[in-house]
Symmetry: C2
Subunit: 314 residues, 2 copies
């Protein structure tokens, strides 16, 4: 499966609900990969070493000296061992110098990438953990780069010349999920087929949240009233709500970034294909040029950080 | 129970999850009342007439000619019969002229108060149904009056010389409930005791949503990060989130009302005692003078509308 080449590094993107392992060559080539549902919430009694072996033990048995590097919620308080949050701004070199070590069940040392924390102008902290590694893998390294990582907790980040200088978290995906499942808005939803017209209508109404006439709390009820007056089909309510939330996220991100997300900004979206495509579409309608970033950016980031840490050569 | 006085009117505030009936004198005095959980969702097979009899049949048997007037979700599509939504602005006289009639099981005619609809500057409708009657009961009738009706779907309304000229809906209470029960923010909440310091901290951070640095989506995650960094006790997360949402609601309402909620506005809060007190506190910290409105304003409103409709004299 590895094309005859020896793996130089085992990289793991270990999140709350999923495990993704990569067998990597020194130049960053992904030689093999595994994915499972062994997210940190699925690991019982703190047996993370055993879970690591179950998922990537076959690579470690074949090359026992391969270093292991991990990112994501495995470094949270609920994970294997709490890794630091580094102050923002930071870069790959600083991240690489602050890895946290844990001992695997078969004697390997595994290294956990730190997260990043920043304090917003209202003196409230924000954090990323795992996304710093995806960004590290997608960075070109010069000029201004803007990343959007959509999902349960969407992250927006800005890098300047390879340093992550700003980021913010938006609870868009989680809010969408619980509104669909548990709110009155979900009660009248029928079907889950994507309705582009409804999505765009919700998007436009969400984007207007940045125009000083009320935000998400005021706008949410529209998903009900439009259906009530027959101007939105019930089959489109789900797409409408998705667009509304993404529109609010974009509007709020532009505000929160305080002028750093300019109209001529070019944005790279890092995430699953379907959600990334929806964000690229939404950003374009908000007047922001966007493209989908490289696949496996977590793997690339793990290689770059491992290299900067001297775990592998090259 | 009626102090020897004859009831002139049976008023019913019939909502989604509750039924509240009033036996009323011509001058509006509440002679007797009942409350049950026979909200419209609890009534099976559309047997609203039977539910009415179960709750207030004893009054109707004693005085079969008493007119019956009802407000709330009983006039929705899911209720007994859909009552109109009148265009905003409107007033008690117009509401009284557009009652919808239904026939009770014992032959009485019952009258349903219409709701009110308005279209916001983004061409999206908003509605109230039931709150128009509470407002009708609390109105002084001259000058500018501002009402806040906190709850599952909080309503803000403005009246000018007795006419309801503006209102907006904020899904604050519902969002609070589902975030506590179903989101990651609820997972770390311990206890449900009110923590005033945490409430005020959340409130201040929510109020800042009106200052152009991001809204609710951006601010929600703070309920997690503050606890993560030990600067908010887990026992205060629930109060913090409540304050955050109410703060966002106030900030958004001020925006949505487009200058009509001025700093010297005096606001009347209509709702349950505990929630109303929290809103009066929150509004005061937002620099807005507020007081708790009269109890039983739904009953007063039903009497005023019935009188304007000629159902009772006086």
């Amino acid at each position: 499966m590895t094309g005859g080449r020896a793996g130089a590094l085992v990289g793991v993107d270990w999140g709350t609900s999923g495990f993704r392992g990569y067998l990597l060559a020194t130049d960053g080539t992904v030689l093999d990969w595994v994915a499972s549902e062994d997210g940190i919430l699925a690991v019982e009694n703190g047996s993370f070493g055993a879970a690591l072996d179950v998922n990537v033990g076959h690579w470690l048995a074949a090359a026992p000296l391969s270093p292991v590097i991990m990112s994501g919620m495995i470094g949270s308080r609920q994970g294997w061992k709490e890794a630091d949050y580094l102050d923002c701004p930071t870069d790959i070199g600083v991240l690489a110098g602050r890895l946290t070590e844990v001992a695997g069940d078969s004697g390997q040392v595994a290294h956990i990438v730190p997260g990043i924390a920043r304090v917003d102008p209202d003196d409230v902290p924000d954090v990323i953990r795992g996304e710093e590694t995806q960004i590290a893998g997608a960075l070109v390294g010069h000029g201004t780069e803007i990343f959007v990582l959509p999902g349960t907790h969407s992250k927006w980040a800005i890098a300047e010349d390879g340093r992550i200088v700003w980021f913010a978290t938006f609870m868009t995906g989680e809010l969408f999920a619980i509104l669909c499942r548990h709110s009155i808005l979900g009660r009248t939803m029928t079907g889950d087929e994507h309705d582009p017209a409804a999505f765009h209508r919700g998007l436009n109404y969400g984007l207007a949240a940045g125009e000083g006439r009320g935000g998400l709390l005021k706008r949410l009820f529209s998903a009900r009233t439009l259906a009530l007056f027959g101007s939105l089909p019930e089959s489109g309510t789900r797409s409408y709500l998705s667009g509304l939330l993404i529109g609010c996220e974009i509007a709020e991100a532009r505000q929160a970034a305080a002028g750093r997300l300019t109209d001529d900004a070019s944005i790279v979206v890092l995430g699953g294909a379907r959600l990334s495509a929806a964000y690229v579409d939404a950003l374009a309608r908000a007047g922001m040029e966007a493209s989908v970033g490289p696949a496996d950016c977590a793997a690339h980031g793990l290689v770059r950080i491992a290299r900067a840490a001297g775990l592998i050569g090259g």
